[in-house]
């Protein structure tokens, strides 16, 4: 029942039905390969270096030694954790781009407990730290959700702005806690006692963080797939009209889900402070809140696909830091490469959702 136009374009875009997982993975792979080729060209043009050497350097930087591998794995885990935080919100079609801020306040709350509870019994410290991080993150997620539910305030812009409010709040807190005075940084918290530092497991200080994120992965997967609340999130995301028909309280679902989203980001903040940095600074989240959006989007909210994406992005970042020093490049090179890869992968998704139909002569005559 399509209307024929006088001048039919030679190519016509048609929406596709759903594609098989394998095929869509193949298209993503093609996007990555295209990206690597473009990156190789860019590297060669800018630096004259052999791209293969540079890629080898990236590999070495990310996975070259066992320490590097563990750092890459831990950073992937934390990025993934933030990606998980965004997942329920995105499933509900709520554009939470405020994960950066939610991570920051979570980190700040954790640091506060660490600093003030340095002499507490360790059970109290280790219980209160995550609770504080989770509550702070949840609160930060709740604010835009309440306004969205009650007055339909644009959540994209609201959550974006809250990121910077959180950043200033952290800066404020740093001055409050700075050590030594006037240094404008908190330094390692509890450097001597290591109170509130996540303990090593089997002599490995990275394992616990990774373990926590894997537990979150399983729990979140179960929550989204098998609980009533998870089901409500899916229905609200697909169609608010249907949700209302099924008697779901849409406002309550929005508020509850954003609290959860913020809480999980708070967990990431807790892990960053207690498990990784043992300090608090405005760069503790380091843009992960934004990168995690890319992880969630490209992973199509599927935890396993997100795991692949998160690992790949961290791999590129860690590797680029290495090539920066190895080849004397500026370490911002990694951001350029990451950017190019993201462009290619985002662009290739077009071919998953649409297909091109080229006009054949005989069809044109028939029309």
């Amino acid at each position: 029942m399509s209307a024929t136009t006088v001048k039919e374009p030679w190519v016509h875009v048609v929406k596709r039905d759903r594609m098989t997982v394998g095929k869509s993975a193949l298209i993503h792979l093609a996007g990555v390969v295209l990206a690597l080729i473009i990156c190789a060209l860019v590297i060669f043009m800018l630096t004259g270096l052999n791209p293969i050497d540079v890629y080898a350097g990236i590999w070495d930087g990310a996975l070259g030694t066992s320490r590097r591998t563990w750092v890459t794995l831990r950073d992937s885990a934390i990025l993934l954790c933030i990606g998980f935080a965004i997942t329920p919100a995105f499933r509900m079609r709520f554009w939470n781009i405020g994960a950066e801020g939610q991570v920051l306040v979570g980190a700040m709350a954790t640091a506060a407990v660490m600093i003030y509870g340095a002499n507490w019994p360790s059970w109290a410290l280790y219980t209160l730290m995550p609770i504080a991080g989770v509550l702070a993150g949840a609160l930060w997620g709740l604010i835009p959700a309440v306004f969205k539910a009650k007055w339909n305030t644009n959540e994209t812009l609201f959550t974006l702005m809250l990121n910077y409010v959180a950043m200033q709040a952290v800066t404020y807190a740093i001055i409050f806690w700075e050590n030594p005075k006037g240094s404008n940084s908190v330094g390692l918290i509890n450097m001597q006692s290591e109170a509130g530092w996540l303990p090593s497991i089997a002599d490995n200080k990275y394992l616990l963080t990774i373990f926590v994120v894997l537990v979150i992965m399983v729990l979140l997967y179960g929550y989204m797939k098998y609980t009533k609340q998870g089901y409500e999130i899916s229905v609200v995301g697909e169609s608010e009209n249907t949700a209302r028909y099924a008697g779901i309280n849409v406002k309550r679902v929005i508020i509850r889900t954003m609290a959860l989203s913020g809480a999980l980001a708070g967990v990431a903040g807790f892990l960053l402070v207690s498990g990784a940095g043992h300090t608090i600074s405005t760069s503790v989240a380091d843009g992960r809140g934004f990168t995690a959006i890319v992880v969630a989007w490209l992973g199509k909210l599927n935890p396993f696909a997100m795991l692949v994406v998160a690992f790949f992005l961290v791999f590129m970042q860690r590797g680029s830091i290495q090539i920066a020093s190895q080849f004397g490049l500026n370490d911002s090179a990694s951001e350029i490469l990451t950017g190019i890869i993201l462009f290619c992968v985002l662009g290739c998704e077009f071919f998953i959702n649409y297909r091109l139909e080229f006009r054949h002569e005989e069809e044109a005559v028939k029309a």
Partner: protein
């Protein structure tokens, strides 16, 4: 000069970067594209202008300021418009998600800026600052005589030409959006692409042009920051959160360029207010720095509460348009 005068001067200097960014984003958003790549495009414009000026000054013994200025402007416009073009191709032609694409563009652009900015300093001899004295001098030239009037000269005529150009662009943009046919068509595209399409407007062309021109205007903000504000030097990550503040300013101005003028000065003033309030402790200074964001959130909430239609974002903001989707 009195402290107040200096404060006002600095307010204007701070505001100009935001004003460029906000104008670029306003024309982009009026076409229905929410481009979160503003920080990236600012870095791209800034570094391209700097590189252009630097290469020119390095290639000749006696650089002529206005040639350097022209080269820098051209390079900045082209490079940041290219950022807009990447975004346009991905979101309009390939219908990628706007938020994610914008964030990717910011990642790319900031990296692009820092990479080349940093590399330039190295090219210049490794240590120290690179010098583009002639060109940056050209950018910072003030109007003779007028500049020497006491107070008035300080307040109104102590700036380089990009400052006045920002005001001109704002007025031009406002005129374009609200007083021309093309502007009317553009607003229709951002509000309701299907209706615009039915009225015979080429939606794709409008979106592409608006987004690329918007990118170029953002790039001028970066150029101003590098060549005028920073006197032609580069420091990595020196833009801070100005790109995001520009996006905040768009909301604050409720998508009206003329409102962005005083908004930019308000934001610029709030941005540096902490330096001028006597007796502020350092922690209180940080609270003051968050003021622009609080103000923006307040405006965002108020507009959603009052539900005045003129104050709302363009209705199709964030949505890709696919003609066959219509029923």
């Amino acid at each position: 000069m009195s402290t107040l005068l200096i404060f006002l001067q600095k307010t204007i200097t701070q505001g100009i970067v935001l004003l460029y960014g906000a104008n670029g984003e306003i024309i982009t958003e009026k076409s229905g594209n929410l481009n979160l790549g503003v920080p990236g495009m600012m870095y791209m414009g800034g570094v391209a202008g700097l590189a252009g000026a630097f290469l020119y000054e390095n290639s000749t013994a006696n650089p002529i300021p206005w040639v350097g200025v022209l080269i820098a402007i051209l390079a900045a416009l082209l490079c940041s418009a290219f950022g807009g073009l990447i975004y346009s191709f991905l979101t309009i032609t390939l219908r990628a998600n706007q938020n994610v694409t914008g964030l990717a563009l910011t990642t790319f652009g900031v990296g692009f800026g820092n990479f080349f900015g940093g590399s330039l300093s190295k090219l210049a001899g490794g240590v120290g600052q690179i010098s583009t004295a002639a060109t940056s001098g050209g950018f910072r030239t003030t109007i003779p005589f007028l500049r020497d009037i006491p107070v008035v000269g300080d307040l109104f005529f102590s700036y380089g030409f990009l400052t006045y150009f920002a005001l001109i662009i704002t007025l031009l943009l406002s005129w374009f959006l609200f007083k021309t046919r093309l502007g009317l068509n553009l607003r229709a595209v951002g509000e309701n692409a299907a209706t615009a399409d039915a009225a015979g407007i080429n939606v794709t062309r409008y979106k592409y042009l608006a987004t690329c021109i918007g990118g170029a205007i953002c790039g001028l903000g970066g150029l101003y920051f590098v060549m005028d504000y920073s006197s032609g030097t580069w420091m990595n990550d020196s833009f801070g959160d100005r790109g995001w503040l520009a996006i905040a300013l768009v909301i604050f101005a409720r998508w009206r360029p003329t409102q962005a003028i005083w908004g930019s000065f308000l934001f610029g003033g709030l941005y540096i207010l902490y330096l001028y309030i006597p007796g502020l402790t350092r922690d209180m200074q940080e609270v003051f720095k968050a003021l622009p964001y609080f103000v923006t959130i307040f405006v965002l909430i108020m507009t959603s509460l009052r539900k005045r239609r003129e104050d709302q974002p363009p209705a199709s903001l964030g949505l890709a348009y696919f003609r066959e989707d219509r029923n």
